[in-house]
Symmetry: D3
Subunit: 133 residues, 6 copies
């Protein structure tokens, strides 16, 4: 059970309700998931984290599904159970097929392995890869 | 300086040369980067790692640039200097623009933050996100 | 369930009982938590870990609650479920309010994000921040 | 060398200059460190990261130096060279003495060790530490 | 519950059955554990991961139990619950006694602590330890 | 350059000299490496860390070289440059051959990959691997 209690809409102060309303409008759903209800115990962090998430995850130069895959790669590497479940669902909602997920997992595993080969052998960066483009 | 010396083509045994040749053919370049030259001290690991990398990074259900972004997300999270430099270059070669890289970095930072909010508050996974699809 | 069984006081050898007694005296409680009962399977590690913990967590130049917040920051970053629960409780016992915990969580999330921006962009340390004070 | 070039004030667009000006005013210094000059390549991330940092690091229920110590604990655990140097300097500027730093480092080391003892033995959380307060 | 369903032998395509058969033959048991049944949703990753695991974990210059201890050290550091349970069992099957496990855990804890002391103080590598042997 | 200055023998207080003397006697060398000279700025942490290291790394149920391999596995996973260099040297001094190191690196890479497959797919621990032995 979480360290603090979720804040339900009917018990929430106006600043929290405004965030919940924006989450619902942005995602076109009535459901507000536990992440936001727990953060709502600290309205300032709730508001900042939602703005940050809404901005960073919106389609831009990268499409929204690619951003979910990047988010999943981080969450799997850090072993965040909550984030893996929710962003696996989000990626599927944005078009990720089982094959895409399987390939993403294979790349995540490979990168975690190769990161240690490079770090462990203390491999020098080739001159051609150094410096700003 | 790396813990072991890079193995140059002219000093390499046939099994290592075969891998170098395949790297060159697959990537359409003469350049073999330090990662492979260091792994070549252990020909079995070199051969397996190259096969694994070649298979996992090839375009499939996901395109090659998306796979590079996933690889970068892992490497940045783990702080693998070598891998960040080389896969930043690889992603650019496969079409990543500066805007795409900036957006990917923003998602990587966000996910690393939110992972800790979810883990730190011990947020319970919502029932709807649990279990196989 | 833990990989080994907890060692209860009545079954413990004298060296383990001495540690349990010191834990109780130092913390002014009869309760010995699972961490120590599991470590007791290896009395040498139990004794060293308790001495280390007792010394490092005692008030000194930093007060005891600040040390608990630092401990929590590490535990959240590493996702140690056991340590988050126990040191959240310890920090509260030493005066951490819900607002303090919320602010600490916001800093932990921020630092985890900014760490990746700095590492991922390979940002050079400014000359003025280098070297011993 | 960083993957992108720092953006100097004289070359910066108005939105970036506004952030630099606020950094200078908030910190009461002319110096803008590399972190912000590199992020400035992506003005949206620069603005969000600065707002987040300014809000989260300001004194509140926790004083500013305690927040720097928490930030350091995360940065040391993740091995962010840039962040260790800059936040070591920031913590000193806010009153951290060498003894405080030494004690913080001892707690960081201890927590990283004990996190693995708890995770590795799969120690069950004691009932009394579970659930919201 | 896992994100995808385990693939049972009777429902598996021939390529997956071949891997299951090889696992059984190599390990001299009828039991195929969940790790492989889940990976079987992606037969290419299953085949590559099994080959890699079979090769890397086989006795060579290092005996099989030592390799299990190294695997455990990584899994404890990363907090992989599944891997800790299965490789703790595998190490025991290959001769790891409770004392050996306790000593390994003590070294894992120590290394995680000392890693942070070295990284956090930014300790310079002594000249004598640099460079290839 | 390290955040604090190394403490040389001739400038060290008696408590620090006693540790240096014990390091030299235990290792049968005159050389005291930077790790200890930096920790010496905090004599209490120096003394505790040395005692802990001396105890945990001594041959017992596991031989000294196996302990160095476990230490290396943690250090490579965490990317501690200092620790990789020094414990690579220590392992060699205790009998690690290039083949042993190469095999250890292959296991470390494999485990880091498989940890993410297990965590990312949220694979359930098989009943037979649960609970104390």
């Amino acid at each position: 059970m979480a360290l603090v209690k979720p804040v339900e809409y009917e018990d929430a102060p106006p600043a929290v309700r405004a965030v919940y309303d924006d989450i619902r409008a942005t995602r076109n759903t009535d459901y507000v998931n536990n992440f936001w209800k727990i953060l709502a115990n600290d309205p300032a962090t709730l508001a900042r984290t939602w703005q940050e998430t809404k901005s960073a995850m919106a389609a831009g130069a990268l499409d929204a599904m690619t951003k979910e895959l990047i988010y999943l790669a981080v969450s799997v590497t850090n072993n965040c159970e909550y984030c893996i479940h929710t962003h696996h669902a989000a990626a599927k909602a944005k078009g990720m097929t089982p094959s895409m997920f399987a390939e993403a997992m294979a790349v995540i595993a490979l990168a975690n392995a190769n990161n240690r080969l490079a770090n462990g052998y203390r491999i020098d960066v080739d001159d051609r890869y150094r410096g700003p483009a």
